[in-house]
Symmetry: C2
């Protein structure tokens, strides 16, 4: 059942250890690189250091909460990262 | 027993699927970023797309051989990546 109040429905939440993860797929390495650069900039602005795992056409983002509960700062970063791939509508 | 003829002793070789992996640790996020940029450039020159997994102070590099045997091109890229962290002696 979808939760309309969940601001980040595409992310998986894990509680132990607390983290948010989402996998993104791309058509080309160029798109993958552009996305990685965008995430690096957003992460720097948020002063968070998500773990990224990527290959030619995918990126898995894991935002870990450093052992604390997943907080609004983590959710805000996840939303901004979603914004990098949101259709411009 | 060390193999003096192994050009990449710090890498682990796996045969199924064929790949080379090495984990690198750094003191700071700035060093991690510098290393990542270096790997991206070397990979582009080699026309290979290693899988990278990284956090604030570590990078795991996996060079997969696309199902084929690990060839000289993979070993050469591993050596060049080693060169990014080799002490300047």
């Amino acid at each position: 059942m979808p939760d309309d109040n969940n601001p980040i429905p595409h992310w998986q939440r894990q509680d132990l250890p607390p983290m948010l993860t989402r996998r993104f797929e791309f058509e080309s390495y160029a798109e993958t690189r552009r996305f990685l650069d965008g995430v690096a900039q957003l992460a720097e602005e948020a002063r968070l250091h998500p773990n990224l795992s990527f290959g030619k056409t995918y990126v898995s983002v894991t935002i870990d909460a450093d052992g604390k509960k997943v907080g609004p700062d983590c959710v805000a970063l996840a939303q901004k990262i979603d914004g990098l791939v949101a259709p411009a509508t």
